[in-house]
Subunit: 274 residues, 2 copies
Amino acid sequence: MRTIFYISDGTALTAEAFGRAMLSMFPLKVEHKTLAFVDSVSKAEQAVTKINAAYAASGERPVIFHTFVSLDIKRVITASQGSCYDFLEDFVDPLSQELGIDAQPKTHRTHGIQENGVRDSYDSRIEAVNYALANDDGSNISDYDEADIIMLGVSRTGKTPVSLYLALQYGIKAANYPLTEDDNMENLQLPKSLKLQRHKLFGLTLEAQRLHEIRSKRREGSRYASLQQCRFELQEVEKMYRREAIPFLDSTRFSVEEIAAKILAETNLERHHY
Amino acid sequence: MRTIFYISDGTALTAEAFGRAMLSMFPLKVEHKTLAFVDSVSKAEQAVTKINAAYAASGERPVIFHTFVSLDIKRVITASQGSCYDFLEDFVDPLSQELGIDAQPKTHRTHGIQENGVRDSYDSRIEAVNYALANDDGSNISDYDEADIIMLGVSRTGKTPVSLYLALQYGIKAANYPLTEDDNMENLQLPKSLKLQRHKLFGLTLEAQRLHEIRSKRREGSRYASLQQCRFELQEVEKMYRREAIPFLDSTRFSVEEIAAKILAETNLERHHY
């Protein structure tokens, strides 16, 4: 199998993002390796040893996605036997001209919190995570005024991961409210506590078969996990979404990132962090 | 202020990642706008209207980071008055040659879970998030055998966001254990329940001033938030990390992403998801 290396003198987060996007274009099974903080020539030489060893072992040329601030270190990597891709190189100069300012590459700059104002944005994310945790599973209804969005759905439809992702990635305060038997599933009504927050509601749903699988991992053979019960709950909840004009999404075929992106596109929610 | 647009016929997550990385090279305050799911010519025309309006309003040419599968739609965007950057264009052909296979761009492919095996990786992340939540704040010591890593630290040093990030981004099962007065801060010892898991431990610490600020937001004027108490707790905990040879990190100047990257680099923890 071909090995893909993500290498940088910083966190390698940018190299990973770049490489992932590139590889998504190709249907290919690969092995991934991240080498972060390769910030000296001797560490770069060790990285080259690993690259060349991967080539020798598999017979397939490793693919290297790299972003280096230091040119000396970069040269060591590009002299390896790997096939190297550096996306910064091709784009920084044209963008610099457009912006009318020089690039000031700094290791760590991409994801750091040193800049003015970025501390605020960092704090907004931590605050949002704390908010999501405190408002997970309908546990803290009194705080809903503060919510940017309130996720609805029956048990195990992915409300919690999506809420946490919105918080961590975008600093969005996402509460979530599980619709359960306590809400009287037959002829499901919108819970009273949510009526005043209607403009913030967003529903999740799933295919019944998928929900059945997920719940079965948790409580195999239970009524809760049965296909029949899953089908019933999903039907009732979707009926309620439609009746109340709550926007909703079937998340069966989407990753957490995609669900978040779709919610943001549909609600025009403002990101507090980019 | 200059407006930056991230536009795609998919989630625009790749355009955002690409643009963020590019902009990190320039010290510049900008306004961000994501236009996702621009998947028809008429939607693209609406996007162009927004781009041109942003130009007219600010007098500064908007910068467009875009990734399109559809060439027809792309053409509409690149004919706008914005300065357009498409990082896929320059790299896909060379990589295709290297890999010996044709690119098969699919909307949604990057972050989707349609592919073989990717469902597993998706599940590993959701499982890891559930694990992190169940093992937050030392609440569930019995599950530590299952942990990939156990984060240690005094209250408010960022254990929870880091654990959740490791789970959501990489599918890593991260427990976290808060060191509190209950552990007898004076002459702090490694809690018994953690001794068998020593190889999984990773400590967080902060500058006392920063911890004082964070705790003050929570309980202003309390002993808990006092600079003296913060200093004392951090001293004791760092002494313990050193004595027990537990790797640790001062997270004061780093974002959640950076902390996670540093932990992964230092521990060689395997990512379950890329």
